[in-house]
């Protein structure tokens, strides 16, 4: 069972991701009609939103894996948390890059301290610190435990941060009206494209997570062997 899973993740997953992503790119750039209100720039939405959803899923994985690591103490959960944090960081960065590209022509500004934007930014900062903590702390179980503590605290903090930045901006007069998506996805072809992109980025996330996790496992294995060779 494990063997089959391994094999299929190694061979099927990359191809599946590649084909879905190719179809998604085709759909976004050729198939889907241009939004009547926002124009061509609306197309970035099909990348931006799936990336954002995958970012939050990735950090959800970090939190759950951190709890399980502290509870069970198995290296597997620690590797999973580390991999998910790295992939999530890449996705989060892309969210923060694609967002302003869309916001500039639509809102007329690169950045606004809207609750959603601010929360994403703070999330990025927390997990940047998480990855730094991983490199800065001594290896082995100690570093893994520290990272897990931050993974848990960060995940608990995110809803509170979201609440606070939400009040912060809504009690203040809003500079801009922030309605994500504008006209919404009125056309069925738009909804189809969006679902395709969700699938493509979901697969990309799984595949990257898998690759990163495997490399972590091999790294641990090598360390283990080295340790055994040196001490026998």
């Amino acid at each position: 069972m494990n063997q089959i899973l391994h094999k299929s993740a190694d061979t099927v997953l990359p191809w599946l991701t590649f084909l879905t992503m190719a179809a998604a790119i085709y759909a976004v750039f050729v198939y889907v009609p241009t939004d009547s209100a926002q124009g061509i720039v609306q197309r970035i939405f099909y990348f931006h939103v799936p990336l954002a959803i995958m970012t939050f899923s990735a950090f959800g994985v970090v939190a759950v894996a951190s709890v399980l690591f502290l509870w069970k103490g198995s290296r597997f959960w620690d590797r999973l948390a580390a991999s998910a944090a790295e992939v999530g960081m890449v996705f989060c960065t892309l969210v923060l890059v694609t967002g302003p590209i869309w916001a500039r022509p639509i809102w007329g500004t690169w950045w606004t301290w809207d609750a959603r934007l601010t929360t994403t930014l703070i999330l990025w900062l927390i997990y940047a610190a998480y990855l730094m903590l991983r490199t800065m702390s001594a290896g082995g179980d100690q570093g893994a435990r520290y990272a897990a503590v931050l993974g848990i605290v960060g995940a608990i903090d995110i809803p509170i941060i979201n609440r606070s930045v939400y009040w912060w901006r809504t009690i203040h007069p809003a500079v801009l009206v922030n309605r994500e998506g504008g006209t919404g996805l009125s056309d069925p072809s738009m909804r189809l494209t969006f679902r395709l992109c969700m699938l493509a980025f979901g697969l990309l996330f799984l595949w990257l997570l898998w690759v990163r996790n495997e490399s972590g496992r091999l790294h641990d294995e090598v360390e283990d062997l080295r340790h055994r060779v040196l001490h026998t």
């Binding site: 703070i122 940047a128 730094m132 800065m136 702390s137 931050l150 605290v153 608990i156 609440r163 912060w168």
Partner: protein, 219 residues
């Protein structure tokens, strides 16, 4: 637990190192921030609550760093962990100690703030102290946990603010909001949701810290 708190306080009374450095850093931050805003402009009054909280946070990070460096330097952390008490109790004692230091520093930093930023010294300042007490409690709850962690990483002085500052964003926002309202002469009833927010933050992270502290100090 009270013995542990007393130990920290006693060390402090004899050396006065932490409190003195907390005060100096808080004072310097206020002075430097004074230069950032034109003394005659209205902007200054608007920026005052923010300046106070920046001073609190900077001084706080310094104090938290010190609280575990001292333990580490003489291997006291080992002794502390050998105490026949629960790790959670050690955490609560350390948090309480940090809270007391930071609040003590506020007794001097707030008057200096009133003095430099030309804030009317009214009974409303009690509201500011309430916000500070709640905010500093949450700040030390999260800070004590991560100070214990960062002290054993490389680049430890830098690591703590990197970990801590994004996590205490809610405390900072709520603190600045409450302070601004109170200084504008509004009653405390208007900021009750912010007070609830900090209160909730304090409670959640005291519990979380109490639960996970043992993973942060275990060898």
């Amino acid at each position: 637990m009270f013995a542990l708190i007393r130990k920290d306080l006693q060390i402090e009374f004899r050396t006065k190192e932490t409190l003195a450095s907390l005060l100096m850093l808080g004072l310097l931050t206020l002075v430097v921030l004074s230069f950032a805003f034109d003394p005659t402009s209205d902007l200054r009054a608007e920026a005052a609550p923010g300046a106070l909280w920046v001073a609190v946070i900077f001084a706080g990070v310094l104090g938290l760093n010190r609280s575990f460096l001292a333990e580490r330097d003489n291997d006291c952390l080992q002794g502390l962990l050998l105490c026949p008490v629960d790790r959670g109790t050690v955490y609560l004692a350390k948090t309480a100690g940090n809270f007391i230091f930071m609040m003590a520093a506020q007794l001097i930093i707030v008057p200096i703030f009133v003095f430099f930023f030309n804030v009317p010294a009214t009974p409303a300042l009690a509201g500011v102290f309430l916000a500070l007490a709640l905010g500093i409690l949450g700040f030390s709850a999260v800070g004590t946990l991560f100070a214990a962690i960062s002290v054993r990483t490389r680049a430890r002085e830098v690591m703590l603010p990197l970990l801590l500052l994004p996590l205490v964003v809610p405390v900072f926002i709520a603190g600045v909001k409450i302070t601004a309202r109170v200084l504008a002469g509004k009653p405390l009833g208007e900021v009750v949701e912010w007070l609830n927010l900090i209160g909730g933050f304090d409670f959640i992270f005291l519990v979380v810290g109490w639960l996970v502290f043992e993973y942060a100090v275990e060898e």
